[in-house]
């Protein structure tokens, strides 16, 4: 996260770290139910096998997991069948954990949006992750406040790419607060007006090279667009497993 700050322990209890073998932290992910998490499809490129991965929750410091952390294996990885690597469209995956997590103050699911529920342009939301900060990789979870940008305005920043309905844009023209490599799959969450409840609207997906000269907002997978598909995958893998 560029331009963010260290988050307090337990501030984002749905944030998880998707880790693989020697690499350690590879991507962010988001807890949506006791046995289910979301991340983006491009995290699994070249490493599609579920047994290569584990999910760690309740983390603040990657280097010192601490007493509040919980680690789970991955039972199955469900990549969206239309994930398009070239244009980074349909960039979403559902991750089934091998056992339920224990809900604590530091490990809790985030809400999924209701059908058609979208954050309004120019409203402020939060992104979190252990990704690049522009000058180094952090150990402690970072958080940053970003502004939701309308799709037409977002398209104007990305001449070479098509911003599709499966995407959501947030950040600033100057790119001052933005997600970056290593944040992929992490949450973009907005607090509901009546306070207290946070809803997941985006998963960190792509953007301009975040420490390059060409700045601009970050592009997130639009979770609202995928909520019916997410629920369907959970239903299929819970009640229709062979």
């Amino acid at each position: 996260i560029l331009g963010g700050r260290v988050s307090r322990q337990g501030a984002w209890p749905w944030q998880c770290s998707l880790q693989s073998g020697q690499s350690g932290h590879v991507c962010g992910c988001v807890l949506i139910a006791r046995k289910w998490a979301l991340t983006v499809a491009h995290c699994f490129e070249g490493r599609e096998s579920a047994d290569l991965w584990k999910v760690v929750l309740g983390l603040t410091n990657l280097d010192h997991p601490g007493a509040h952390s919980q680690s789970r294996g991955v039972r199955s990885i469900i990549v969206h069948p239309r994930y398009n690597r070239a244009v980074v469209d349909y960039d979403i995956s559902v991750v089934q954990l091998d056992s339920e997590v224990e809900e604590t103050a530091f490990v809790r699911p985030v809400c999924l949006p209701r059908p058609g529920q979208l954050p309004s342009p120019d409203s402020y939301c939060y992104i979190t992750g252990w990704g690049h900060m522009g000058n180094r990789m952090p150990f402690k979870l970072q958080e940053g406040e970003v502004r939701i940008i309308s799709l037409p305005q977002c398209q104007s920043y990305f001449d070479m790419k098509t911003i599709t309905a499966r995407m959501l844009c947030a950040g600033y023209e100057a790119g001052t607060v933005d997600s970056c490599m290593g944040d992929s799959g992490g949450p973009l969450v907005c607090e509901e007006a009546d306070g207290g409840r946070w809803t997941l609207f985006g998963l960190t997906s792509w953007g301009s090279v975040c420490f390059s000269k060409v700045l601009g907002p970050g592009v997130y997978s639009n979770v609202t667009h995928f909520t019916p598909w997410i629920r369907q995958q959970i239903y299929i893998h819970t009640y229709l497993s062979d």
Partner: protein
């Protein structure tokens, strides 16, 4: 590389593959931007320091150059950009063939000033003195006749200018001769037109199991199933008696989707779609576990209230009823529709099940609100 420099066999400008410290090999060009070059093999790292074609595809240079090509500052700018992004690899010598110095100089002289207007700099990695003079001993690349000024990611205006492909038929006039907004019918662009909305979709999206037209016309009439069969989302045919029996028969499992719903005005009367017909659930042997299963299966959380709705006389006789299967609790992990069965008789109590669900606890933070540290100034 594992060693400070590549093994001797990579003398000259053979590139060292940093991923495994060995001399790189030629690889086919897959960067869409440069798929119309007079050569089709490249090797990495490239002349901009990118380690792979995937990195090149998301690099800022791959956005910068195509945008710059639209200004028409230099006829062979795209060709030059591609010799940097995907340098030619000679399949015999495995040597990389760089652009000639004159090509680099021409591109820089004609286009660098355009970049400075928008506050951007010419890519540092492309210092022209590193490239060989044309006509010298070292091989280098110059544009041959017929080299296309536009890339496959561009649309070529009638005037010859290049505009980005996503500007074709986007409702804005981008070509100097406005040709990017002509012939925008779907068929003229080899696309398929959604009958109602007139939206254009790729032919490959028709009958692929995903609805792309607003009214889903692209997924209609894709199969002809027999009378006693229904079509799956992927257009297979499955016998109607197998529909919503709790087991997958369609390879995409779509015969088991949307089998359970809470309908009618209150949005809570339980309806089950089984063997291709709609059923009410008789309340006689209903229990709380089945209410929990209903809300969980619908992704609606947990039951907040359950009630039994008595039917008006006369209506119940015309309804189709499902009853709780005697072994409903022995079917662990099964969906609700697998735990209900048809019986020859109607529902004695004539009462239907009604369930109200409420979202489970989510999105709550117990710790770490954004508190402002109060600090004396």
């Amino acid at each position: 590389c594992s060693a400070p420099s590549c093994p001797s066999t990579c003398e000259g400008n053979g590139a060292c593959d940093p991923r495994n410290g060995t001399c790189s090999r030629c690889e086919p060009i897959s960067l869409e931007l440069c798929m119309n070059l007079p050569y089709n093999l490249t090797s990495y790292p490239n002349l901009l320091g990118h380690l792979s074609q995937r990195e090149s595809s998301v690099s800022w240079e791959s956005s910068l150059f195509p945008a710059l090509v639209q200004t028409g500052c230099y006829q062979y700018l795209m060709f030059y950009a591609c010799t940097l992004l995907v340098p030619k690899c000679d399949p015999v010598s495995l040597q990389r063939v760089p652009p000639c110095r004159s090509l680099c100089r021409d591109a820089k002289e004609k286009c660098e000033s355009v970049l400075s207007i928008v506050g951007l700099q010419w890519p540092e990695d492309s210092d022209c003195s590193q490239f060989p003079e044309d006509g010298g001993d070292a091989a280098c690349l110059l544009p041959e006749d017929g080299v296309d000024e536009c890339s496959p990611s561009h649309f070529k205006c009638r005037s010859g200018r290049c505009v980005l492909g996503i500007k074709r038929c986007d409702g804005h006039l981008d070509c100097d001769d406005h040709s990017d907004e002509e012939n925008c019918g779907c068929s003229e662009r080899a696309l398929w037109e959604c009958p109602a909305s007139k939206a254009c979709i790729k032919p490959s999206m028709i009958c692929d199991g995903f609805s792309d037209c607003p009214l889903m016309e692209d997924e209609a009439n894709c199969t002809v199933c027999r009378d006693n069969e229904l079509a799956c989302s992927n257009h297979q045919c499955v016998h109607r008696t197998l529909w919503c029996d709790g087991k997958k028969h369609c390879s995409d499992s779509s015969d088991e989707w949307s089998c359970v719903s809470l309908s009618d005005q209150s949005g809570s009367v339980l309806t089950v779609f089984k063997t291709a017909a709609e059923y009410q659930v008789c309340a006689d042997e209903w229990n709380h576990q089945l209410s929990s299963l209903t809300c969980s299966q619908l992704g609606l959380g947990v039951p907040s209230s359950v009630s039994m709705v008595t039917d008006q006389p006369g209506v119940a006789g015309r309804r189709r009823w499902l009853h709780v299967h005697p072994e409903w609790n022995l079917r662990n992990g099964s969906a609700l529709q697998a735990r209900l069965e048809k019986r020859s008789h109607a529902c004695h109590s004539r009462r239907r099940v009604s369930v109200l669900c409420t979202r489970e606890e989510c999105g709550q933070r117990q710790v770490g609100g954004v508190t402002r540290h109060r600090r004396k100034r």
